[in-house]
Amino acid sequence: MTRLPRRSRSPERLLAAAVVAAAVALAPSAAHAQACCVGTGLVTPARLRMFEDYAVGMQTSVRNVMGSFASSGNYVASPSGDNEVDFEQDLLAATRFGRHVQIALKVPFVETSRNDTGASAFGGGLGDVAANLRYDITFSGDDPWIPGVAILTGVSVPTGRTVEESRDPAGATGLGSYEPNLGVALEQVRGRMFLSLTGFVSKQTARTVGGQEVSFGPRITGILAGGYAFANEVTVGAFVTAMRRSDEKLVTSGAAVAVPLGDYWRAQGTLSGDLPFSGWGLNRPTGAGITASLLRVWL
């Protein structure tokens, strides 16, 4: 296990660590949406900074569905009286294998509250568990010109319940098949500012519904994030994500903050919203949400 003693942390490494914390705080927002239709997170917020060996944590999120994009791309607000709120609580864990490799596990619990045409429903349970691996080829902060570059891969496992298996769609917590993903992350620091760009391709494996095999196209996701790290390592940032799969499209933006709580704890929060502009989405519900997480790390 490679360890970097805290006393040896240079200003550059502190900044790089702050970048990591910020990227971690930003990434989860892209993951939260209706459990029936969007895979478990591409990135878990339990990403380790370079001097951390292990982390465990919890994350909670609430998202209010406000409307949807039609197949024409037109945005339509939810009809009066209809509402849906999606909740998620995640257990997180991560560990490091040497300087370059870390793996993370996310166990989500998903609940949905829905009211439509005078009926109401609430349901939930264990969602699709996700495992992720990150291989850092280069590290941001090591060189003023070469960005941090990392290869990301992962898979969500169909441990949740599909819509068809639920008594009510509110009880749906998973996709019903595996969704592996592969991505690349670039991160760079300039002074106290940072910028990161992450791209993923994922593909849900086929599943059988009513004797009929259903296949899915590749899902492409991009995350652009930037922000500022203060001297006390509190980091604020903003991000925009874009997702496209066959005839689905959605753009989300938001803001995030990561706050260290002493040496071994850190809190992260994200406010995010899908952009409700006609033409910016296809065949997707839209909403806004808040995410908060608390991590305990071991150095």
Binding site: A121, V163, E164, G210
Partner: protein, 148 residues
Amino acid sequence: MQTRRAALAAGIVGLCAIASGGCGGSPPAIPPVPASFPAQALTTVGSTSGALQVALRSVPDPPVRGQNVGQLTLTDGTGQPVDGVTVEILPWMPSHGHGTSEAVGVTDQGGGVFIANPLYLFMAGEWQIQMKFQGAIDDTATATLEIP
């Protein structure tokens, strides 16, 4: 420190206990079949072979997010009602790759008219009403609805 660890462990165990059982939600009540349907069909589609015309009506009209009752009217190429078939219906969201939690009950009313209840279209977006016909004619048809 031990107190915090114990609290964290208790929280995790409690959460797991709640979540391991989960809750699939309660199925919504099946709506009553209305006395009449709109004169104007929502859409009329041809079957895959072209032998059938399927007119789809719904209550409410237009269909809403949630529970709906559908009516299918089957006619042949000359406009005559088609009897002697059984109908299976699968509501489907093609872009998301899922159906719905409520199986659609289909009742033959005679004269080529079938009631589909419930059509539980629980999510906004584009839904397909996938229909399979067996008996006098073996065929399929798909109608597309946009739910706001």
